[in-house]
């Protein structure tokens, strides 16, 4: 259980499952959350190394979660991977996130990119 923690925020259960698989391949501990509000509650209690964030969530926009992460000092080291089908929004938020991936995303690609975001100390 020394692996760093990855929080996957994705409302589509199939994709959440797939993303979790990919992150696990990149040796992350994973936790999936399917709505924004639960995600914010969870983030208040944990410091994930990586957050895989979908922008289109049922209760609140993914950008709100991003704003929260970026405003929280505690989460300074948290890397955010934006995985979305909305190219327009993704482009707007490009500078605030560590990585932008447009759906459909290859598992291998996601896993490879995620592994690059692993904290150095942990390797």
């Amino acid at each position: 259980m020394n692996n760093p923690l990855a929080l996957i925020i994705e409302d589509d259960s199939k994709l959440a499952y797939l993303f979790a698989e990919a992150l696990q391949m990149a040796e992350f501990e994973t936790e999936t959350i399917q709505n924004g509000r639960s995600a914010l509650e969870r983030l208040a209690l944990m410091m994930p190394a990586v957050v895989v964030l979908d922008l289109h969530l049922p209760d609140l926009p993914g950008s709100d979660i991003l704003t929260y992460i970026r405003s929280e000092k505690r989460l300074n080291n948290t890397r955010v991977m934006l995985v979305t089908a909305d190219a327009l929004k993704a482009e707007q938020l490009r500078n605030e996130v560590d990585l932008v991936l447009l759906k459909p995303v290859s598992l291998i690609q996601l896993s490879t990119l995620a592994s690059r975001l692993r904290p150095l100390t942990m390797t």
Binding site: D11, F19, H56, P58, A85, D86, A87, K103, L107, I108
Partner: protein, 1008 residues
């Protein structure tokens, strides 16, 4: 012979005896009607009492009732006949007489001849005498005679009951006859006395000249003598019973009403003495009146007043005589007065003459002193006259008198002059001229007038004199003196010379003026030309000499169209002596050109009744041409203004801020709906009333710019009179005038409403285009998202499967393969929905109609949805109503699509409970598909847009419930294509029910 003479004597004796007897006997018929009526009433009553008396007597005597009544009834016809009012007096009295005597006979008959009953005859006879008439009396006597004398003698038993009477009927008849005779004589005597007494009174009353009228207490006339009848003109009968007051003439303004009331008569009686005579006026029958004096005396009967006697005396003649006397007296008085006045006048005249004479004497004395005074006064006047007066003796013409004015004019004193002649004083030429004139005056013996002569004076130089010389005759008729009167006219002469000079100057001016000066005179309508300046030729081409000769030589050239106005204007000026100002045309006779001219004058009238026109004639052709050009130019300008649809205004703005509209083009009326006057009168009407409140601020800024002299242009709204809003562009250009004191704003207001509307339409279209573009972008993003999500799943699971190839885990691989297939299906559904939407939008979707059973329809849909419902733990219930026909027609695939969409929607929004599908027929022409759920429900505000493409209830649901948002839109569009109707019933927390009502399509019409 003897016998004859005896017979004759006897006859004459008898005749004289009869005559005497006749003289003794009463005349009869003497009762006046009223007295007769009164008596007759009493006697008739007595007769009726006898009717009752006879019946009673019969019964008393033991007769049967019937017999007694029969006896009594014998009298009844006589009593009725006597009571017949219209009957003659003689007839009626005879009837009572007959009745009463018959009653006596009946008493005798009923009593069986009682002697006592015979007394009744005598009594009745005395009663009948009361008529004072022979006829009833003789009827009674005749009856008695017959009864006693005839019946009593023939059958005494029927008349008497005495045996002696039966034996000696004649004796009894004689005895009874004697009683009758005695009773008759006594009655006749009283009748005769009564009659003679009445005759005497009547004679007195009838012969008196005064009218006597008796009245009762009601004022009704009961008696009237012939004198009274004559006075009133009525017959006595006519007035009897009428009120005397009816004859009284009530003079206007008087209130006295004599004879009127009982009270009046009563009052009369209270005065115990006879009233003094009263004057009154009464009516005559012929409606004239007469004056009368009357005295009223009460009539007393046993001390009680029963009426009054009024004695009249006609005093008309007396009054007339009095009036005549009064008139004569007045005339006499007038005559006396006149005479007295004459005397007084004569007296006064005498006194006046005396005074006059005294005054004349005093005057005479006074006049002597006055004469002296006036002589010295005359001298002083002569001395003080400004006219030179002198006298010369007629021999050597030496001066004898020389007044002060003469001294002044000649510069020589009177002392110096008197005793000298002209040769001593003036040069030989002058003195010779003067002396010649002196001689001429003497020779003529009359006045010589020398209008002008010159004298040389030592101190005043040459003077001009106007001298008159008159010889003054002595008592011998020869000239004694020569009187000279000279007037110094030097000043006048100089003035005349100056006048001539000035006239010359005036002529010079007249001839050099730019107009033609003239003087025309009208004498009784005839015009003469006194003067016309020579320029008349230069200006009008008419020779002034011709005009001087006849004014018509000028007027004949006046343009024919103007001659009428010319004549009229001149006539008016002459009549009113008003200013004459005429403009007209004339034709220059020299050049033939049309010339405009103006005549000006203020006519004056002279005492001789002339009207003098002094004035000027001007050639105004150039001015007229300029005016015409100006008018034409203005006309053109107006045409230009009216031909453009914009409104033009010209406003003057002073530095003090006062604004006035100098010009407002008529287009303002159609533009604003207000009459043009409003804008001309009130400059502020436009800015205050018309400009839209929202644009007032901008308009104020523009006004300030204009006031600063800057041109400005602004688009704003105005509110028309009808309330409509019009967009205008107001552009103003400013020019400074009067050294910058005034700003003139030239403005153009154009109606740009059309353009503004076009702009707004364009703007709206642009907004719509932008909105639709935004929606398209959103749609694209959404579609992309919806497509990418399942695609990502397919890709992800495929990659996982690939990774699993080396370490095969059959269960995991199968699950992944299923996930891939599911996602691919989901992707296919989405693509299909998008395609359907595209086809519906393009109108290219075609329905494929055929017949099917309701079960097939429901079953097919449920088969596709069962899994989904089960996974969510919901029960999916279906029900097909019995009334639904076994076969329905339509596009079953599309109907199943509708059902699937609605069911999946229901499942999507329902967490617990059930989803029900029902097929039923609301009526015979329709069938319905209904899908109900127990889900969250749809808020009412969402009902309106839920069927629009790409819409879901709100954005948040987008992610909770994946989908394109096209499902309900497609359902709606398909339903519409099938001529159906979709009804949504839903509320928050109470689930939703979608009902699709479709027309029943007859199966036979469907071509399969």
């Amino acid at each position: 012979m003897l016998a004859d003479s005896t017979g004759y004597r006897f006859t004459t004796t008898i005749a004289s005896l009869l005559k005497n007897i006749k003289g003794i006997l009463p005349e009869g018929k003497s009762l006046p009607d009223d007295s007769w009526e009164a008596r007759h009433r009493g006697i008739l009553t007595l007769l009726w009492l006898h009717v009752i008396g006879v019946v009673c007597f019969g019964l008393f005597m033991g007769e049967e009732l019937g017999h007694s009544l029969l006896e009594g009834s014998i009298l009844v016809p006589m009593a009725i006949a006597a009571g017949w009012l219209k009957g003659h007096r003689k007839f009626r009295s005879a009837m009572t007489s007959l009745g009463l005597i018959t009653a006596s006979a009946l008493f005798i008959h009923l009593s069986g001849g009682y002697i006592e009953a015979h007394f009744h005859f005598f009594v009745m006879l005395a009663v009948i005498v009361l008529y004072q008439d022979w006829f009833p009396f003789l009827v009674a006597i005749g009856y008695v005679f017959f009864h006693h004398g005839v019946a009593g003698v023939i059958d005494p038993t029927a008349v008497y009951n005495h045996p002696d009477a039966f034996a000696h009927p004649w004796k009894w008849a004689t005895i009874h006859g004697a009683f009758i005779l005695a009773a008759s004589v006594a009655g006749l005597i009283s009748w005769r006395v009564n009659e003679s007494l009445r005759t005497t009174i009547e004679l007195i009353l009838n012969s008196t000249g005064e009218g006597i009228i008796g009245i009762d207490l009601h004022g009704k006339i009961t008696f009237m003598n012939p004198a009274a009848a004559e006075m009133t003109g009525y017959e006595v009968k006519e007035l009897m019973g009428h009120r005397l007051s009816g004859l009284f003439y009530q003079a206007e303004g008087t209130t006295a009403r004599p004879f009127e009331s009982k009270a009046w008569i009563k009052a009369l009686t209270e005065k115990d003495c006879v009233q003094s005579a009263i004057e009154g006026t009464f009516w005559h029958k012929d409606r004239t009146t007469f004056a009368a004096e009357y005295i009223c005396t009460p009539i007393r009967k046993a001390g009680i007043v029963v009426g009054a006697v009024v004695v009249f005396k006609n005093v008309t003649e007396r009054l007339q005589a009095q009036a005549a006397l009064q008139k004569a007296k007045e005339e006499l008085e007038i005559r006396v007065k006149e005479r007295t006045a004459d005397l007084e006048e004569a007296n006064m005249r005498l006194r006046f003459e005396l005074t006059e004479r005294q005054r004349a004497e005093a005057d005479l004395a006074k006049r002597a002193t006055e004469l002296e005074e006036s002589r010295s006064f005359l001298n002083s006047i002569i001395e003080s006259l400004p006219t030179m007066l002198f006298t010369k003796e007629t021999q050597d013409f030496r001066y004898t008198h020389f007044n002060r004015a003469a001294e002044e004019i000649t510069g020589r004193s009177a002392a110096e002059i008197i005793g000298k002649n002209d040769y001593d004083l003036f040069s030989a030429t002058e003195a010779g001229f003067f002396t010649d004139k002196d001689r001429e005056a003497l020779a003529e013996g009359a006045l010589v007038d020398i209008p002008e002569q010159t004298i040389h004076t030592p101190h005043k130089g040459v003077r001009f004199l106007h001298t008159r010389k008159i010889p003054i005759m002595g008592a011998d008729g020869k000239p004694k003196y020569l009187l000279g009167i000279s007037e110094d006219i030097t000043e006048r002469k100089l003035a005349e010379a100056a006048l001539i000079d000035s006239e010359a100057r005036y002529r010079a001016i007249a001839t050099t003026m730019p107009g033609t000066i003239y003087q025309f005179t009208s004498r009784n309508g005839v015009w003469t030309v006194d003067y016309v300046a020579p320029q008349v030729f230069e200006f009008f081409g008419i020779d002034p000499a011709d005009i001087l000769q006849d004014l018509n030589n000028f007027t004949c050239h006046i343009h024919p169209d103007d001659i009428g106005n010319f004549v009229e204007s001149v006539a008016e000026a002459v009549e009113n002596l008003s200013c004459w100002n005429f403009e007209g045309r004339l034709i220059n006779p020299t050049t033939g050109e049309l010339v405009w001219w103006q005549g000006l004058s203020t006519p004056i009238s002279t005492t001789k009744g002339e009207a003098i026109f002094n004035g000027i004639l001007l050639n105004i052709t150039e001015r007229k041409q300029a005016e015409a050009a100006l008018r034409q130019s203005e006309q053109r300008f107006r045409q230009v203004v009216s031909s453009i649809s914009d409104h033009i205004y010209v406003t003057k703005l002073t530095t003090t801020g006062e604004a006035t509209n100098l010009y407002v083009s008529p287009h303002i009326a159609p533009l604003t709906g207000y009459p043009i006057d409003k804008f001309i009168k009130d400059w502020n009407f436009w800015p205050s009333t018309l400009i839209h409140p929202d644009d007032k601020a901008a308009a104020t800024i523009q006004a300030k710019q204009l006031a600063k002299g800057e041109s400005s242009e602004l688009e704003y709204r105005i509110i028309r009179a009808d309330g409509n809003i019009v967009w205008v562009r107001d552009s103003g250009r400013v020019e400074r005038e009067r050294n910058g004191q005034e700003l003139i704003i030239y403005g153009l207001v154009s109606d740009i409403t059309g353009r503004k509307q076009e702009e707004m339409i364009l703007e709206m279209a642009r907004d719509q285009a932008l909105e639709s573009s935004r929606l398209k972008t959103e749609l694209l993003a959404k579609v992309s998202h919806e497509l990418r999500t399942p695609l990502n799943a397919i890709l992800g699971f495929a990659e996982l499967l690939k990774l699993q190839v080396d370490a095969p885990d059959a269960g995991k691989q199968r699950r992944m393969t299923n996930e891939i297939i599911d996602s691919a299906h989901y992707l296919t559904d989405i693509v299909n929905e998008l395609l359907d939407q595209a086809q519906l939008e393009a109108g290219r979707l075609v329905l494929n109609t055929h017949c099917f059973t309701p079960f097939d329809l429901i079953d097919g849909a449920l088969a596709r949805m069962n899994v989904l419902a089960r996974t969510k733990g919901l029960s999916l219930i279906s029900d097909i109503d019995n009334a639904v026909p076994p076969t329905l027609c339509g596009d079953m695939d599309r109907l199943q699509q509708i059902l699937v969409n609605l069911i999946s929607n229901a499942i999507k929004f329902t967490t617990t409970g059930s989803v029900q599908v029902r097929l039923y027929c609301p009526d015979t022409h329709h069938w319905a598909l209904q899908v109900s759920d127990t889900g969250s429900g749809i808020p009412s505000e969402a009902h309106s847009y839920i069927f629009e493409p790409f819409r879901q209830v709100d954005g948040s649901m987008t992610r909770k419930q994946p989908g394109t948002g096209l499902g309900l839109s497609i359902v709606k569009q398909l339903t519409t294509m099938m001529d159906g109707e979709i009804i949504l019933e839903s509320a928050i927390g109470r689930g939703s029910t979608f009902t699709i009502i479709l027309p029943m399509q007859p199966t036979e019409e469907i071509v399969i």
